[in-house]
């Protein structure tokens, strides 16, 4: 391999790039700890301030240093919100990073990096480290790289330097100066590449995204919860649910939230139930293995008719599985966790707006129906962010459903619809008795089998009705006169929408379920209308399709499933939908 290459030149002939209709996709890859994250943050912020729509998602290994992590950045003149396979620009920071993604390189891909490190002839050489060292520290190489991308995309220099300044301000003038120098140096190389049409991959004309918000899924869930009146958050760290917990801890002082890291997940759920009992509105954030431990606690919520909100961020199992990867594999777990029969509600936001609104709403639903409410996300969802103007703080507001008690108050008073007014201790003169044993109306243990004990079972069962009726309807996108209907839930939302946009099939519509359980009554009607129903799920068997089939009686045998720990890409969905999948999606295992 050539020892020294001209900066900004490939060894071979010039690789001309085309402006992509959906913006530019940039992939940064390197070891954990190498600073990909900081390049990403810098670019996203600068380019957004600059007027571009931005999208970023990351995938990372279950380790703190080493391995190969990557981040995908999309920059566009139109909103972009999903993961793509395409790499317009690929910046591997080392050889291992290059190896892991090289099979995604096409002839359209501009591979940029230090040629001495990459076994790829067509590499457009920018020796980030060497340039950074010229400014005093090889650590500034991230700034060089960010500057270069900015230059290629035609971002504004001003925004770049402003941002660099703000980031490094607290480290002193010297560091600010060096980094601005490094950024400038990178920028100029980038601009050169663009000018010479070596990499001409601008996202198109700028719009105004200055006022839009840049939220990751985790932020949207956390702020949404606060908007819904969440005032306590208990958790035990577990990837990928920790982001929401961390956000809540960060907001604790400002928003007055009782935040506690509990000794284990069993403690978490039981502490949350204690808090609700005494008038708090507690959120629990966890992932598959941690949630598994809460199974008995969910059942307790069922019998004491306690509200509780569980943020369940999914990752691939079984057991520890792939801890930092993504999967929509815990629906069955959420559906069936807890022995005994009692209603629950399962929500699954598809974008940050929904995440905000559903998380807020979860608290009101839990409080109103006195049931556990799940907000289901996954690693891809919580770690992904993009600009948005859709989130409206005034759309969410806490509604409390507690009652001031009088003497003789009965926590489980029998009523027509099964809901008993919920009192809390010391608010009023009544006593509030919550009981894990089967109980009478005042919450005292009973074994009056054919009397009050059976009535209590029936009372809790009755609640299913109201909960089912209140289920959020599914959302239809695309032609009303579809013959083919794609169904999905949770994080596949944006990807399906972008894929269908590209597909441009007039007969295919998309039915998205922000609430997956109870299955909204309207589901059946939508499904019946379609000749073909295709489920798109990021899991191995199609758990939601099973649920929908069982609920509507309509068999959904066509399933597009992905379960390697990565989210769907737009391209593979397009391909799968063109193919019009048959039963190829794999045999169904009935459980998981």
């Amino acid at each position: 391999m050539a020892k020294k290459k001209a900066v900004g030149k490939t060894g071979k002939k010039t690789a001309k790039k085309i402006i992509s209709p959906h913006g530019v996709s940039i992939v940064l890859a390197g070891e954990a700890g190498q600073g990909i994250q900081s390049i990403e943050t810098l670019l996203v912020n600068v380019l957004k301030k600059d007027g571009f729509h931005v999208f970023a998602t990351k995938e990372y290994m279950s380790r703190v240093r080493g391995g190969v992590n990557s981040t995908q950045l999309r920059v566009s003149q139109e909103p972009v919100r999903s993961y793509v396979d395409r790499m317009d620009i690929f910046i591997p920071l080392d050889g291992a990073a290059f190896e892991r993604y090289k099979n995604k390189i096409t002839k359209e891909t501009a591979v940029i990096g230090d040629k001495t490190k990459l076994a790829y002839e067509k590499t457009i050489n920018i020796p980030f480290n060497r340039i950074a060292s010229e400014f005093g520290n090889a650590l500034f190489s991230n700034t060089v790289a960010a500057g270069a991308v900015c230059g290629i995309l035609g971002g504004s220099e001003e925004a770049l330097y402003d941002y660099v300044k703000s980031v490094f301000a607290r480290k002193g003038d010297e560091i600010v100066k060096s980094n601005i120098g490094a950024a400038k140096s990178g920028y100029e190389i980038g601009r050169g590449l663009k000018a010479e049409k070596i990499v001409d991959a601008g996202p198109g004309k700028k719009t105004s995204t200055k006022e839009s918000l840049l939220l990751a899924g985790a932020d949207a869930v956390a702020i949404g919860a606060l908007a819904g009146g969440c005032d306590a958050c208990f958790a035990y760290p577990m990837t990928p649910s920790t982001g929401v917990f961390t956000a809540m801890a960060g907001y604790a002082s400002k928003a007055g939230i009782a935040v506690e890291q509990v000794e284990d997940e069993i403690g978490v759920i039981n502490m949350a139930l204690g808090a609700w009992y005494a008038g708090g509105r507690a959120l629990v954030s966890t992932s598959g293995g941690g949630f598994a431990l809460m199974t008995e606690g969910i059942s307790l919520a069922g019998i004491i008719e306690s509200p509780v909100v569980v943020h369940l961020a999914q990752r691939p199992g079984p057991a520890t599985g792939l801890p930092t990867r993504t999967e929509q594999g815990d629906l069955n777990l959420a559906l069936y966790a807890g022995h005994g029969v009692f209603p629950r509600i399962i929500l699954a936001p598809g974008d940050t707006k929904q995440a905000f609104e559903l998380s807020a709403g979860a608290f009101n639903l839990a409080d109103k129906y006195q049931v556990p409410v799940f907000v289901m996300t996954d690693q891809y969802f919580v770690d992904t962010y993009y600009d948005t103007v859709d989130i409206d703080a005034s759309k969410a507001e806490p509604v409390r459903h507690i009652t001031e008690t009088k003497e003789g108050y009965k926590r489980y008073a029998l009523t027509k619809d099964g809901f008993s007014p919920r009192g809390i201790p010391s608010f009023g003169s009544g006593l509030v008795c919550a009981d894990s044993d089967e109980h009478d109306e005042s919450g005292r243990i009973t074994e009056d089998l054919d009397g009050i004990s059976k009535k209590m079972k029936d009372k809790r069962f009755k609640k299913f009705d109201a909960v089912k009726k209140a289920a959020l309807p599914p959302v239809l996108t695309g032609p009303k006169n579809y013959t083919r209907l794609v169904v999905g839930w949770g994080s596949v939302y944006n990807t399906v929408i972008e894929a269908l946009g590209l597909l441009g099939d007039r007969n295919t519509a998309f039915l998205f379920f922000p609430q997956v359980y109870p299955v909204p009554i309207a589901a059946k009607k939508y499904l019946e209308k379609a000749k073909t129903v295709i489920a798109v799920e990021n899991n191995q068997t199609g758990q939601f399709a099973d649920l929908l089939s069982a609920d509507t009686g309509i068999n959904i045998s066509q399933r597009i499933l992905k379960y390697n720990g990565m989210p769907f890409s737009v391209e593979e969905l397009v391909r799968a939908l063109v193919k019009k999948p048959g039963k190829a999606a794999g045999k169904r295992g009935k459980n998981g």
Binding site: G229, G274, L431, D435
Partner: protein, 285 residues
Amino acid sequence: MDNIFDYKTDTAWCPGCGNFGLRKIVMSALAELEIKKESLVFVSGIGQAAKAPQYLDVNYFNGLHGRSLPPAAGIKAANPNLTVVVESGDGDMYGEGGNHFIHAIRRNPDITVIVHDNMVYGLTKGQASPTTRKGMKTPIQVNGVFEEPINPLALAISLDASFVARGSVGEMEKTKEIIKAAIKHRGFSLVDVFQACVTFNKLNTHKWFKENTYVIDESHNPRDRQAAFSKALESSPWPLGVFYINENKPVFEEELAPYASGDRKPLYMRARGEGLIKELLSAKK
């Protein structure tokens, strides 16, 4: 004269069970402390002992086996003004609930934990509990328990618990005073109470407890952790009284953000400023 906390109903306890005595002790302690009924909450797990709140006229949260402490802390987090008393069994607290026990001691919420220590699993009919004496035969430990029992007081002291005491149903007056002190104490208070299970524990009877305990005298300094530890290791006879006190520990709920300023208003009475969510969102621009 009736105790205002007395709730008259058919109890599920065996005649002669130590639970009755402890129930009386607890009711007297509460009455003497003149605690307002509405602001008092009992929390328990599952077991014979854990049924205790069912027989009191109080607010209660009767949760899962082994899981009394987390809800108790959750209750304090939601409303620090409530007086929270946990009543549970030795199996519940030191067996299934062991992890919560050690971490609740560290967390130090201002709650009082009364453990009905009958040295056996009563409700499930006589298996060994963590405090069952070595050698006792049970339907499961058919050749006798081979392990030494856990020493909950030594354990608590090793964790620097805020208040550590042992009572006995055989010492009504003394135990009542201990429980009163425990409830008044700010922070986590453990009161392990010896009591007989007349049905399944033929070893540790009312008589045995009487004969094998003595009341700690004035000379013991409960602020001396070493001394407390050696007191806790004493056996045959077992000491009764307050072993250890450490008032200098931060209290869980007081450390939580909503109350850090000293404002103890419960969560349900708080409303957030209109603008907060807008502000948090704006910061994401």
